[in-house]
């Protein structure tokens, strides 16, 4: 178990591309940290620098108080689970799991005991003598997990470990991984581009965009008070509504002139207004929402349409009889988020 500190860590690839701009944060002992962001934002690069698979261009990386910038991956006391599992195809499941221990000179009987224990924990006991090719995707995923946990590392690193699984299995493995991490209490860094995974698994989330941290926070913080329009639109399904509005004559007004919120202090100029679809109140209020499409999701419905000429989505409970056409809506003051139109930053 370990605390991991990044101090102005950055990465410039040999071709001159700066994949990660100077980044600082700290991961607490036993914490489950999720790195999330769109494809190409530098998540893997950051994770691989922590793993020691990629050189750190600048800054310092500390694991448990020890600077590890120039320590090899084997000596950082980490374990990693790869997206394609990277199991050794010619070795049995047993040998795959045992390989890391054997290389470290662990006595045989101890290896056997640890492998059995990991296999029991992961429901792999019946498959120990198979080759990876003879396993299903979910089982391979478990073997990769087994390989990570037998070594009792100080830090688990996951690089999109579930993205090769189908949706159902992904949900199941998500819960299993989280439960396992809870049980073992090992500090973990988990990379994903799936915001549902990020929200459900994380103790804290780091949202990355273009090699820069957009926001660090608990899932609730990230969800309810996004630091930028990027975070607002990236997290949540459906994402937060972002509509163009402006400070005008003491209020925040939509382009059609509807005032949605008082704005003291005489500010003026364009802003972006954000509101989560489930915070929109239907049936009363000052704004008019033209619903073009009703999406039935069983437990609830999503209404898609336009608010003041801009795309807008609202969440309707299943008992409400929302239909297409014009609806009065209210945008509650406490649910609104205001962003600078230029920079996208929260005001």
């Amino acid at each position: 178990m370990a605390r991991v500190t990044l101090d102005r860590v950055h990465k410039v690839y040999p071709n001159g591309f700066e994949a990660v701009r100077p980044t600082s944060f700290q991961i607490e002992d036993g914490e489950f940290l999720v790195l999330v962001g769109p494809s190409g934002c530098g998540k893997s690069t950051l994770l691989r620098m922590i793993a020691g698979l990629e050189d750190i261009t600048g800054g310092t990386l500390t694991i448990d108080g020890r600077e590890v910038n120039s320590v090899g991956p084997a000596d950082r006391d980490i374990a990693m689970v790869f997206q394609n599992y990277a199991l050794y195809p010619h070795m049995t499941v047993r040998r795959n799991i045992a390989y890391g221990l054997a290389n470290r000179g662990t006595p045989r009987d101890r290896i056997a005991a640890k492998v059995e224990e990991a296999a029991r924990m992961l429901n792999l006991t019946d498959h120990l003598d198979r080759k990876p090719a003879q396993l299903s995707g979910g089982q391979r995923q478990r073997v990769a997990m087994g390989r990570a946990i037998v070594r009792d590392p100080a830090l688990f690193l996951f690089d999109e470990p579930l993205s090769n699984l189908d949706a159902k299995l992904r949900n199941q493995m998500r819960i299993e991984i989280k439960a396992l991490q809870r049980r073992l209490g090992v500090t973990s860094i988990y990379v994903t581009h799936d915001q549902v995974e990020a929200m459900t698994m994380a103790d804290r989330i780091i949202v990355l965009n273009g090699g820069v941290i957009e926001q660090i926070g608990t899932p609730a913080e990230i969800y309810h008070s996004p630091a930028s329009t990027f975070v607002a639109s990236f997290m949540g399904a459906p994402p937060m509504n972002l509509i163009e509005a402006a400070f005008e004559t003491g209020a925040v007004r939509l382009p059609d002139g509807t005032a949605v919120m008082d704005a003291p202090g005489g500010r003026s100029g364009p802003i972006t207004l954000g509101i989560r679809p489930e915070d929109v109140r239907l049936g009363r209020g000052s704004a008019t929402f033209d619903v073009a499409l009703v999406e039935e999701l069983g437990a609830h419905r999503l209404l898609h349409g336009k608010l003041s000429g801009q795309p807008f989505t609202a969440h309707a409970l299943k008992e409400s009889d929302a239909t297409t056409g014009s609806h009065r809506i209210d945008l509650p003051f406490e649910a609104l988020a205001l962003f600078d139109r230029e920079t996208g930053m929260r005001l």
């Binding site: 790869f82 990277a86 050794y88 290389n103 990876p132």
Partner: protein, 310 residues
């Protein structure tokens, strides 16, 4: 030859019967003429390749004088076992070292030495080129690759001179080492290593495997199909070497089968009847191991290809 192939292709009664049967069958399952044509071509090709071997076998069973008179025929004589014994155990020179068994062993050493040496060297070279950030790795690779343009025959004089100056003439080292670098094998292993997923190396690094361990524990087992393929090619190549052994080993104790066969037919110049039977046996001995290697490794090869997933 024509007679021979015809008889084996179809016994006469069947050849006659084939015609009336064909239309009757068409009702049940249409005869695919394409397949028939393909098989005809394949069978003809196989017979064309097999005929000389069958002739060798046939000629090793009849007395040498009869071969002088009639050449190959369909007669199967009783000389096979005596010829075999003579070929294996009797020397054909004064030194007494050029027995078939001895030459067979020498050929084996050469073939195995070549195959194993080439595989080891080229795997290591490919490993260095693919996995290590060498300064001029690409250049080194292309340099190795261009040596394909310089086969032994082109560089035989300097190669011989170096071998001679190193005092390696008439030694196994001199026979094997100068030919052991292989651009072909290096190239194939390089291509193979480049197709191995990067994550395996990374996983191994995290699992605490150093470069040597990764090579031996992971890369070599993963390459087994490639190794089998290279072994076939290189063993046959080494086994069939003629020019280099002729130049480097003048000691009869190191003669290979391929060299030895030549030695026997030279007897013709001496006014004796050449020992056809014996040299035919030696030729069969010389053909057999490469065939067996191909047959044996081919099965292994296919098995490896279908089993391993990458």
């Amino acid at each position: 030859m024509a007679e021979l192939s015809h008889t084996i292709l179809l016994p006469p009664e069947q050849a006659r019967a084939a015609r009336p049967v064909a239309p009757a069958r068409r009702h049940r399952r249409p005869l695919r003429w394409g397949a028939v044509g393909n098989h005809a071509v394949l069978i003809a090709g196989a017979l064309f390749m097999l005929a000389p071997l069958l002739m060798l076998v046939q000629m090793s069973t009849i007395p040498d004088a009869q071969i002088m008179r009639t050449g190959p025929s369909f007669e199967i004589g009783d000389r096979f076992w005596p010829n075999l014994e003579k070929a294996l155990t009797e020397s054909m020179s004064f030194s007494g070292e050029t027995t078939g068994l001895n030459m067979f062993r020498n050929s084996m050493i050469l073939g195995l030495g070549f195959a194993l040496g080439k595989i080891v060297i080229s795997m290591m070279a490919a490993y260095a080129i693919v996995y290590f950030r060498l300064r001029f790795a690409t250049l080194a690779f292309w340099l190795i690759f261009t040596t394909l343009l310089l086969p032994l025959e082109v560089r035989i004089v300097p190669s011989y001179e170096i071998t001679q100056k190193l005092g390696l003439l008439n030694s196994w080292t001199g026979l094997i080492v100068p030919l052991i670098a292989s651009a072909t094998a290096t190239f194939f292993f390089r291509q193979f290593f480049m197709s191995v997923p990067e994550e395996l190396l990374e996983a191994a690094k995290i699992d605490g495997a150093g470069p040597v361990k990764f090579f031996i524990d992971i890369l070599v087992p993963l390459s087994r199909t490639m190794i089998a393929a290279m072994f076939i090619i290189m063993f046959v190549f080494g086994w069939n070497q003629y020019l280099w052994p002729v130049m480097v080993s003048t000691e009869e104790g190191k003669f290979t089968l391929v060299q030895g066969i030549k030695q026997i037919t030279q007897g013709l110049e001496g006014g004796h009847i050449p020992e056809y039977g014996r040299s035919n046996i030696l030729a069969i001995l010389a053909v057999l191991p490469p065939v067996l290697v191909v047959v044996f490794f081919q099965r292994w090869f296919v098995k490896g290809l279908t089993e391993s997933d990458k």
